[in-house]
Amino acid sequence: MDQTKQDEEYGYDLFPERNKGKQQEKTFGQKLFTFNHKCQVMLQFSIETSPYAKLLLSAMKSSGCEVFKKRHFSCEDCDGTVSGGFDATSSQIVLCQNNIHQQSHMNRVVTHELIHAFDHCRANVDWFNNFRHLACSEIRAANLSGDCSFSSEVSRLNFGLKQHQQECVRGRALRSILAVRKISREEAEKIVDEVFDSCFNDHEPFGRIPHGAKEAKFAYRDYVNRDRYSSSL
């Protein structure tokens, strides 16, 4: 298949730096005063302080996919308004340095993409050919990362209360799929509907939908104690 067409088929055109081959060497000035440096600093802060990220990193290590910052994360310029992505081909999480400017946003993107990476690690996810798999991972990532928290939604001027989280998760999963795959909206909606109940209720590795740092810390505490927990039952 023609490379350009393949790029568009799988959403790689949103991440133009992915095909550049060898990373271009940066000058000291470029390293210090650019979006790239800011992205690296915010990423490090997320890894060290976000209970969501810490739990996911532990879970991935336990599953045999230890994450190394230099190998598995890449700060790049991206097209449009996309914030990040997970590239299964290279086993890398892409962070869009030109579109992430606040630490809270970085925390959410890191969590969101780590959920994709976690799914890739623990399950036979067919990212490229199985839309149900893609939809499922997007539902989980929107649900568990804080993407659909009340405050995130309010900041997007989406006001809703009763069960609004589910509406948000559906909508964001749909948008994510439509951004990276060429299918019709109707088709995408149908697929999201088919897998929604299963995937909305899959809370691995959190054991709950963490609504904020306190619940994420509880989830991390439970994860650390999982051996004691399972042996006591």
């Binding site: 095909n19 623990r122 939908i209 904020g212 104690n225």
Partner: protein, 109 residues
Amino acid sequence: MDQPRKAAWKPPRDCEDYWSEFRHCKTLLNFFHHYYAYGTTPSCQQWKEDYSYCREWEKHGGKEAKEALQNSERNRVAQQRNFTPVWELRQEPPRDWHMPLNQENSQDS
């Protein structure tokens, strides 16, 4: 060689963890989050019961308290697994997870 001693049974969580979950469950914020996610009000009573079973077991080591705790937690686990997975779980992690990057990028047209 000595026979390995069977480790004494410990409750699934520290008793304080049950209490902190109960306290958190009762907050207005948690009520709000639960309603926002599920459209229903949260039920917190089980955490309180589990806390008292845990304390009961710590004081007297009774069989009823232990079994009540185990049943409660097994129920929680079952609720977490109450869905049919969309995908198959792997037996091993993906082989290329740790492969160096320049080996990954075989972008032949």
